[in-house]
């Protein structure tokens, strides 16, 4: 790892000021992606601003309509929250499937979506449940947040404070994990929400996206058989040593049917 100056942020405003005054500063949440990236010398920030001490960014609150999760809330905290399990079991289940126990004890929801790894799980939940990303500057609809591979709507130095998930009528997340890393080769969140059916896919493309043909097919008949005959094009999908684009396109159909079936 190249040398850098470490800063511990006291508050969101302090973090924003510290990252703004650095030559090439980065914000660090749990560090589960940033630190390995820096160890491989794929990133060389001059300054690292650690959000780990900002207590106001961690925590879960649930109302009748919304589950709000602070950006620095760990995957383990979401996976084991009785309130999340009750309100949106698919979200707790998704969190419990990320990485391994040690990664879940450090990794955070804010770090995950700010990084926007194409194979990360949480982007599927933000899109699939129609969440809103609340930053220190504004509220960003989930539909506008993920813009490309590792690209988001966040401005430089903008800090995610929390993610608000509207509680769906029903939802389920099913993924085909890479057996070594547990990253999604393909993950699908299917949900029936107050504003309609949503089907979001992660792992398959440059970033998470909605599969609108499936949403239309499910709108009148929310059952796995409604997806018979809905084909997914492999154009633009990821291909790597784990799965070809054609295989990922096939998996989207299979995972989507399983997710709809799991909604019960």
């Amino acid at each position: 790892m190249y040398a850098f100056t470490y800063h511990k942020a006291e508050s969101v405003a302090d973090a924003a000021a510290k990252v703004a005054s650095a030559d090439d500063g980065v914000l660090m949440a749990g560090g589960m992606t940033l630190l390995p990236t820096m160890k491989q010398r794929l990133a060389q920030p001059s300054d690292v601003v650690d959000l780990g001490g900002v207590a106001s960014l961690a925590g879960i609150s649930v109302t009748a309509e919304t589950v709000s999760i602070g950006a620095m809330t760990t995957h383990d905290a979401v996976a084991n929250s009785a309130e999340v399990k009750q309100a949106i079991p698919a979200l707790a289940s998704l969190a419990s499937s990320i990485g391994d126990p040690m990664v879940r004890n450090r990794g955070t929801i804010g770090g995950s979506i700010a990084n926007n790894d194409p194979a990360a799980d949480y982007p599927g939940a933000v899109l699939g449940l129609g969440a809103t990303v609340v930053t220190d500057k504004r509220s960003i609809p989930g539909d506008d947040f993920f813009q490309g591979m590792f690209e988001t709507a966040l401005e430089p130095g903008e800090i995610i404070q929390r993610i608000d998930f509207p509680i769906p009528k029903k939802a389920a997340y099913v993924k085909f994990p890479n057996p070594a890393s547990r990253y999604a080769i393909v993950g699908v969140m299917a949900a029936e929400t107050a504003s309609g059916v949503r089907v979001a896919v992660t792992g398959a493309g440059p970033c998470a996206f909605r599969e609108t043909a499936m949403e239309t097919a499910l709108a009148g008949n929310f059952s796995p058989s409604a997806l018979d005959g809905v084909t997914v094009s492999p154009d633009g999908l990821n291909a790597d040593i784990h799965a070809s684009a054609v295989y990922r396109a096939h998996l989207i159909g299979v995972m989507a049917k399983r997710a709809v079936a799991a909604c019960g």
Binding site: G31, P36, K39, D76, M102, N105, R106
Partner: protein
């Protein structure tokens, strides 16, 4: 250089570290606590697992400065003098190690599981150990040891 202070195995320690100093390097090089191992150095193998404020973490993927003010427990902190911790004793009893390199991380991960689940099933243990790799592939006895160790920790 910056000053870092933490409690390691009940003892208050202070040291000077760079921003980039990893927790595992502070433990091994500064504190000479070499029971915590570096296997892959890429957050996958879990040989570097320690507890920070009671939670199992990979100490190769955490900066020493992130642990400032924390309570850290390493494999050296488990035994009571010459008396092995019940999980260590279970690994000895069930031959839960072959070369022994992954063992400190396995045991630190296993004690975290046992703290949350007093009677883990074989499936629970195998699922929990997803972040700990044994290159000898000696998982069968490791799983037996963790199940026995978790029961022994309740005694």
């Amino acid at each position: 250089m910056a000053t870092v202070s933490m409690t390691i195995n009940g003892k208050q320690v202070t040291g000077d570290v760079e921003g980039r100093t990893l927790l595992v390097d502070f433990l091994r090089e500064d504190q000479r606590l070499t029971g915590t191992h570096v296997g892959c150095d890429t957050s996958q193998c879990g040989a570097c697992t320690v507890h920070v404020d009671g939670k199992a973490v990979k100490s190769c993927t955490m900066l020493a400065l992130q642990a400032d003010g924390a309570a850290v427990t390493t494999i050296e902190g488990l035994a009571d003098g010459d008396v092995l911790h019940p999980m260590q004793e279970a690994f000895r009893e069930h031959h839960g190690l072959q070369c022994g390199f992954c063992t400190p991380g396995m045991i630190m991960s296993a004690t975290a599981l046992a703290a949350r689940n007093a009677a883990p099933t074989e499936a629970d243990v195998r699922h929990h150990l997803e972040g700990n790799l044994c290159r000898c592939t000696g998982y069968h006895n490791i799983v037996k040891a963790v199940m026995a160790g978790a029961r022994a920790m309740q005694a």
